[in-house]
């Protein structure tokens, strides 16, 4: 039987340089959103595709929770080696936090029945660093966070992983399978999609699922199904560096003086 690896991905939002807060004060105006696949997800997808390419019957399924514009990120995943892409959405999911998204993903996992689930450690926009592990909690699956090495053979009931801790320390661990792993940057070198695979991906279908397909109800998702609610969003007053102005030569001379003064003081 084929081994199925489910990779949970997110289309993240970066902000345009001069963005504005929405009139209700609860989010940034969507006019300033720039969307892309989360950086971490590139690595978790690559890890799954590497397992597939190592041989054996492996299916890589990417799943996201989001409206239609998220298809673009799913196509990117298809172009980088995913076999199937699933997008889950219902208007009631608008405003979901990481815990509500985790509930949807957990339902999708019950539906897809994968042998292994990868998620990125965090998203580059809201950085909750919690969705994948919350999914594991809802399913009661073994889990480990911030994994930067994964040794696994098809059909095995355990795997060896390495966690990246703080301060340049790593830790080896042994984990029961199936498991949910949150994957850290640097675990591999993600590939670029080629023109050929981008073209192929454009022709592949994206499967869509809604609330009913996953036996969820509207009260479990969106703002009502979330563990937190946005009260206010604002642009913080930030400290600002003293800018060294002038020509390139003047700027370099000023920094050189700062460095020389520092070195003089420490000798």
């Amino acid at each position: 039987m084929a081994t199925k690896i489910l990779v949970a991905v997110k289309q993240v939002i970066a902000l345009d340089e001069d963005f504005e807060i929405r009139a209700d004060g609860k989010d940034v105006d969507a006019d300033f959103f720039l969307r892309d696949l989360n950086e971490w997800d590139d690595f978790s997808l690559e890890e799954a595709v590497k397992i597939k390419e190592a041989g054996g019957e492996v299916e890589v399924v990417v799943v996201t929770v989001g409206p239609e514009e998220a298809d673009e990120s799913l196509r990117k995943c298809l172009a980088k080696g995913a076999d199937r892409a699933v997008r889950i959405w219902d208007e009631s999911m608008e405003g979901s936090d990481s815990q509500a998204i985790a509930r949807v993903l957990a339902a999708a996992i019950k539906h897809e029945k994968p042998d292994l689930v990868f998620a990125g450690v965090q998203s580059s926009d809201h950085s909750f660093a919690s969705t994948g592990i919350a999914v594991a909690g809802l399913l009661g699956w073994p889990h480990a966070a911030v994994v930067n090495q994964f040794d696994f053979s098809l059909g095995a009931t355990q795997a060896t992983i390495r966690r990246e801790l703080e301060g340049g320390v790593l830790q080896m661990m042994n984990i029961d399978l199936p498991a949910v792993l949150s994957i850290q940057l640097g675990i591999n070198t993600p590939r670029y999609a080629s023109l050929r695979t981008i073209k192929q991906a454009a022709a592949k279908p994206i499967e869509t699922l809604g609330l009913g397909d996953l036996s969820l109800n509207a009260a479990e998702v969106g703002e009502v199904g979330s563990a937190s609610r946005v009260r206010r969003m604002y642009i913080p007053e930030k400290g600002r560096a003293q800018m060294i102005e002038g020509s390139l030569a003047e700027q370099a001379a000023k920094l050189a003086a700062i460095i020389k003064e520092f070195k003089g003081a420490t000798v």
Partner: protein, 319 residues
């Protein structure tokens, strides 16, 4: 539901300093919580940490004897869950650490708690907890509340609150932890590869390069510049992950702690939160970046907007 529960954290036999920061946070919120500050510590012999946790503000220490001494998420979640059930706090504070990434979200999902992570400000508004965290890559602050949640669990950013000091005479209570079958077995610790023998922890003057250098072929130019200036060459995560410099040169939260660094020049580093968190103790940070909006300019003392290649060449003429 009243009072605050703080989960202390330890690694390799040492209490992690962030534990005392969270106690200070709890102490500052004690009046709003209307209940005691309880600190929980989980481990095979948790009593060894009790003395270090008897700091100002602590009313009770819960010792939960469980696990092997090394973190595993299942034992930790079961123990913290037992502590929450025993004391019914309205607020639970956990360090925003790699260990917490492994279990805090499980507790929130299973307990249906209010939940937010990487929180750097906590307030009480008419009896309801309000937490502030960053959003959109730290470009905005987001104020969250937790309607209808009797228990709110927050993971709190390190180095925001000053560690609690002083002493207190709390009650110490041993709390039983239900048996769990741990699905993860911790193994040995490994230091990040020492491909060269640089010691970033001892370096006082570091110049780091980031994504802004664009391509690997440009690394030698910056190595020469660092050598000429007498700086230790460091880098941000993407440079080490790409293999352009050894992992031992990476600074920031997950890299080596540049604890001795006093002068830090960041070349082409925009300033991911983990990088800034790992370097903000440095007294003089100089950022050189082509993007005037780069986050690093909000923590740097001096900033220069410009092309780092040209600037590097110009700077080298002075040494």
């Amino acid at each position: 539901m009243s009072g605050i529960l703080v989960i202390a954290e330890h690694r390799r036999g040492e209490l992690r300093p962030v534990s005392l920061e969270l106690i200070a946070a709890a102490e500052s919120l004690k009046a709003s919580s209307g209940g005691p500050v309880t600190v929980a510590i989980v481990g095979p012999s948790p009593d060894t940490f009790v003395a270090a946790l008897k700091v100002t503000g602590v009313d009770e220490i819960l010792t939960l004897a469980a696990g092997s001494g090394d973190f595993d998420p299942d034992t930790q979640a079961a123990a913290v869950s037992a502590a929450i059930a025993a004391r019914s706090p309205s607020l639970v504070l956990i360090p925003h650490s790699v260990d917490a990434f492994g279990y805090a979200a499980v507790l929130a999902a299973q307990g249906g708690y209010g939940f937010a992570t990487d929180v750097f400000k906590i307030e009480s508004d008419s009896g309801a907890w309000v937490a502030t965290r960053g959003g959109y890559g730290q470009k905005v602050n987001v104020e969250l509340d937790f309607p209808g949640k009797a228990v709110v669990l927050l993971t709190v950013r390190a180095a925001v609150y000053k560690p609690a000091e002083g002493s207190s005479n709390p009650t110490v209570t041993a709390l039983p932890v239900p048996n769990v079958s741990a699905h993860v077995r911790p193994g040995e610790y490994v230091e990040m590869s020492q491909a060269d023998d640089v010691d970033m922890t001892a370096a006082e003057f570091i110049m780091s390069i980031g994504r802004g250098i664009g391509e690997e072929a440009r690394v030698p130019q910056f190595r020469e510049l660092a050598d000429a200036m007498g700086a230790t060459l460091g880098c941000s995560r993407p440079i080490a992950d790409s293999g352009w410099l050894p992992k031992s040169r990476q600074v920031g939260q997950s890299g080596k702690t540049a604890s001795a660094c006093k002068l830090y020049i960041a070349m082409g580093i925009s300033g991911a939160i983990q990088h800034l968190a790992g370097m903000k103790h440095v007294s003089t940070i100089v950022a050189v970046n082509a993007d005037p909006g780069a986050s690093i300019f909000s923590v740097a003392k001096y900033g220069i907007v410009g092309d780092i290649m040209e600037f590097g060449e110009e700077l080298k003429t002075h040494f």
